[in-house]
Every structure is written in C-alpha cells, then in structure tokens.
Subunit: 222 residues, 2 copies
C-alpha cells in the first residue's frame, strides 16, 4: 500500500515539476538544487559561492528547513534575495516539493534573477526523489561522513550533475580515504565532476565556481 501511495505522490510532483521547468525556461532562470545530509556544509558552501558569483550572476536562494531560519539569515548576509520555506507547517516534510518551489519562486522578481539556488532539506534520501523543476543538482558530502555514503544512498549521487566533497581541511584528523570516496561517487555516476573543497577555509572553490558559471551561462541569456 505504502509504495502505491508513494508513487501517486511522486507522479503528482512530476507533473508539477515539468510545468515548473517550462516556467523557469520562459523566465530565463537557471535553477540549481543543492542537497546533502544535515550538517554537510551546504549553507557555508553557498555563502562563499554567492560572494564569488554575485553580482555577475544575479542570484536568489530558497532555503528549505523543517524549522528555524538560521540558514536564511546566514545567506541573506551575502546580499542575495533569500526566502525560507519551513516545512513544519506542512507536516514536517522531509523534502521540498515542486508546488512549494513554484509558489515561493513567484515571490521573487525573476526578470532580475539569473540563478535560483534551492538549498534543500538536509536529507540524503527523500529530496532525491522529488524533482523541483531544476536544471541541475549538486550533492554535498562532507569527509566526516564516511566514504561509503554514495553506495548507501545511490539515487542521490546518481541523479546529481556535480558533487562537492566538503570539509577537506579536516582530512588530517580523520581516517577518510578521499580517493575512495570519489571512486564510490563515480561508481554510481561515472562522469560526474567532483570538487574537493573546504567551505569554512574557502579552499578549492575555483573549479566549482567555474563549473557553476559555465552551467548557468550555457542556459541563460540576459
């Protein structure tokens, strides 16, 4: 029963996300869906990313969390337009769905935005199943989480267009084989680019920023 119910929810979301993709294309906005476990460093990565790409790329952010506006507050400090979605009022949802992104995105002045980043809810499972009208997906894995996570949560890594290995400044203190982690990512997604960074120390950002800018400018023309 549960699986059939889940299928119906996913089908409804798919229809909404298809419509949303067309809407974002009309508006000439590139949408990036950023996902990870709780505490992998999505917000810190995005704060440092926004500082580098703005104002060249005019960026807005939708932040999903069950509770609190902590992440939105941090992102707002970059000067980007930021809206927080708290899913607590929708039953504590574990993912962002297309209909929520649609109603929230329409609050922005999209004519003046090139890139909409969605920082999804911290969860390596459910958000992978819900397309939210995005053009690309980036998954963040911190090196404190263990090398096997891409094999244990393969859907998330299989559907991503790029992966970030974050917190590499902690490698000297961990038994973490960063090459093995990258190999595990490539086992489920052979051609994915993997960027090794430290968001807090702002290390390794250049290739990531280059990839992101290339992706955005390949779609939009404002």
């Amino acid at each position: 029963m549960e699986i059939n119910i889940q299928k119906r929810v996913l089908e409804a979301n798919e229809n909404e996300s298809e419509r949303l993709k067309k809407f974002f294309k009309e508006k000439n906005v590139f949408v990036l869906n950023v996902m990870s476990s709780p505490g992998s460093g999505k917000t810190e990565t995005l704060v440092k990313t926004l500082n580098r790409i703005m104002p060249k790329i005019r960026t807005a952010v939708i932040v999903g969390d069950i509770c609190t506006t902590n992440d939105a507050d941090r992102l707002q400090s970059t000067g980007a337009d930021v809206t927080q979605i708290n899913t607590d009022k929708f039953g504590g949802d574990c993912h962002l769905a297309a209909h929520l992104i649609e109603s929230t995105a329409k609050e922005f002045d999209l004519e003046r935005i090139d890139l909409l980043i969605v920082e999804n809810i911290g969860n390596l499972v459910c958000p992978a199943e819900f397309d939210i009208g995005e053009d690309a997906r980036t998954v963040v894995l911190s090196v404190t989480e263990g090398e096997d996570k891409p094999l244990k949560y393969p859907l998330m890594f299989r559907l991503a267009h790029s992966a970030i290995l974050n917190k590499i400044d902690l490698l000297p203190y961990l038994e973490f084989d960063v090459d093995e982690a990258e190999n595990n990512i490539k086992e489920v997604n052979p051609n994915i680019p993997v960027f090794r960074i430290s968001a807090t120390k702002e290390q390794g950002f250049d290739p990531w920023i280059e990839w992101l800018e290339k992706m955005v400018f390949s779609k939009i023309s404002k």
Copy 2:
C-alpha cells in the same frame, strides 16, 4: 493530499507498532531504536557498545540501509546476531517501518535475546515519525554537523530517550560549541541524558553503557 496520505501511512504504522510492542514484551526483549544523519557514527558506536555489553546482555541487531551490507558486516564482527534490511527493494524507503521490524525480528531466536538494537536508516527526519515497537530511542549527533541540528530537526530529538554527541575527538579542529549543542538538545527535550563520546577513539563510553544497561535491566528479567 500529500499530508492526508502521509497520515494514513502513519496510522497504519502506529497500529502495527502497538502490536509489536506487546510481542516484544511477551518475549521479554528490550528494543532500542538508534537514529542519526548519515555518517554520524551509529555503526562505530554500536560496535564499541556491543563489545562492552555482550555477553552480559545478549544482543541482536537489525540494520537498516537503502543499499549495501557494510554496516551489518562491521557489526557481525562483534559476534552479535545481525540482520540487514535493505529498503531498496521497498522503493528506497527513507525509514524502517514496524511491519519490516516485525518480520525481521521473528527470524531471531528471541528467547535467547535480551536486547534488540535497531540501527535505523541515516536520516534525521522520517525515522522519527515511525514507531517500530521500541522501548527507547537514542539519537546520535556528530560534532561535525553543527550545533543547531536539534532545533532544525526537533521531532527526532524531542522523542529520544538519550542523545549521543559523537566524534568529540575532532573538537579541537572545529568551530563547534559542544555546550551550545547540548543546550539546544535540552531546549527541545529538557530531561534527556546527553553522552559525549568518541566512538573511533572509544572515549566517554562508561556513562552511556551504564544508562543502556540500566534501561535494559529495568524491563527484562531473564
């Protein structure tokens, strides 16, 4: 629509878990549900825990993962009876449900088991909503994940009977305020015991083991 569907699934699970609680009581087995984000160190914590409590407490483990048997292999090295549930064949479920625990638990010789530990799927959201017939819940948070997680994922921490702050050996290399993290846990769950440990370095285990043994022996009498 989605919320109503979710309610029906949760109600069905609640009925099953109530039945399961009675079954475990009859069998005189204490059930502990262990939950956390991916990569917080549940498995390593349990390996070190099993080494300390067995054979005094005869323990079996059910390990939930979407894919792989990595965790089960590690736990089996302790000599405990271990069964892996891979939810991949159930649509990649993000949590363990009561009916899965019921069918799996019946494969063990429960007359010879005092404690059944369920290592849930790595996810701070969905597993909190699904009672699996457990007597107690322990949530593991690693200090690399940020102090605010109890406020962002309050249900998980509110329903827990104990919390473990893991990876404290990394504190010197992090900007992590361990007191603030503990205060945040107690903000959502004032009387919860919080154990600060390093599973890899096996530090701080005594109070945690004492709590666990006390819980188990308060219920079972074999």
